[in-house]
Symmetry: C2
Subunit: 243 residues, 2 copies
């Protein structure tokens, strides 16, 4: 068997969100990441793999392709044996338990991937994204999250309405907020991280009372801000360290 | 004036470390980053800029080029008015004061750039790199560090010999180390972060007694590790939060 024109067309189309939604499929690449999805509740659609890729999966779901064909469909600099198409799962209802991260208009796929991985590490199982946050099934997000996507439940929703309605304590990461090292942080909370360039939107800032910041220790006022993924790392650590 | 063949050749060659060392030059791009270097002790060699780029710098140091020429020499997806060549400064002697970060074989330019930015934020002015750590004048490091390179002094040295000789308390970030939230962290210390895939080398592990780790809060044992830049963010925060 080898790659058909139609398969090539579908795979290529998945770099665009509208086709991921149309086909209800996304792609994951490389032995490690593909195996994490195979060993998760995610359902596989098709694997495109070179002969060298071994798996217990039935060969019915596998299209064996050449190294050259893999290079053609891969987004990686060094393609690694397999590219899998998986079904986009239904969003799960929110449990609203423990610490929840909410993202307001995060644009960069690498940042979203890193934040998903951080949630996984810190035991945050629910990640809420505003509708204008980058799609979590974007190929770069999938690769950057390193399979943590299989363990963190992600929901896209109207963040303003959600925050207006919630009864959980909400916190915004904000340069002008209270020093996080001195703040009292509850076990159950929603921590809101904002867009890379603009932070959290003004409307949401008005909805949320608690604002926390990571103090700057450097002498100069020139370091503009921490990257949103490193700021999330530090704030997650602060929320979790005391429990 | 426009771009000469020889200038094009020099600029292109600077993507390789050996030519950066030969010419003792590196490149920085975009209005914001270039201005940070111009307003720092770094010495400018030449700016290649479109007419739209305004500066108080004498036009003698500026080669005015077309948008098309800028696109040709730029490493950015969206070139931003100016590309500057700056002189690689002499490494400064170490002061060995306060908290020092030491990197063992960090490979990824984005990670090094993020760590430099973190050092700047947390007031760490000295960063030590093993000789096999990626070059801090690599164009991707320069762009990722967002000008923090002008405020953090970086020294490449034989890390093993350095650590064998130092009298400062040394700490290794290690998966099997003591829970960092329970560790007693001194104000003066060297924190060693290891390679993305392999962590800190065995030789260095033998030299250093204190090992600290960021505990995993997630239920599964599957999240392999935190990215080295996010781990550095959390550990820097822990070292600094109490002082």
């Amino acid at each position: 068997m080898s790659l058909s024109k139609n398969q090539l067309k579908v795979i290529t189309s998945l770099s665009q969100k509208k086709y991921r939604q149309k086909h209800q499929l996304f792609m994951a690449e490389g032995v490690k990441v593909v195996n994490e999805f195979l060993n998760s509740p995610f359902e596989v659609d098709t694997l495109f793999a070179i002969d060298d890729f071994k798996t217990s999966l039935s060969e019915d779901s596998i299209v064996r392709i050449s190294v050259k064909e893999l290079q053609k469909i891969s987004n990686l600099k060094s393609p690694n044996k397999v590219l899998g198409l998986f079904k986009i799962p239904n969003e799960k209802p929110l449990h609203n338990k423990g610490l929840i991260i909410a993202l307001d208009a995060i644009n960069d796929p690498g940042n979203l991937g890193t934040i998903i991985r951080l949630c996984d590490w810190f035991g945050v199982t629910e990640l809420i994204c505003s509708k204008d946050t980058v799609d979590c099934y974007n190929a770069k997000v999938v690769q950057a999250s390193m399979g943590s996507l299989t363990r963190v439940s992600i929901k896209y929703l109207d963040l303003e309405s959600f925050l207006a309605a919630t009864r959980i304590s909400t916190f915004i990461a904000d340069m002008n907020g209270e020093n996080v090292y001195q703040a009292k942080l509850p076990k159950e909370a929603i921590l809101i991280m904002g867009n890379e360039a603009n932070g959290v939107s003004e409307t949401i800032k008005k909805l949320v009372k608690n604002k926390i910041s990571i103090p700057r220790f450097g002498n100069t006022q020139e370091t503009e801000s921490l990257n949103v993924a490193t700021a999330t790392a530090i704030l997650l650590s602060e929320f979790k360290r005391s429990f």
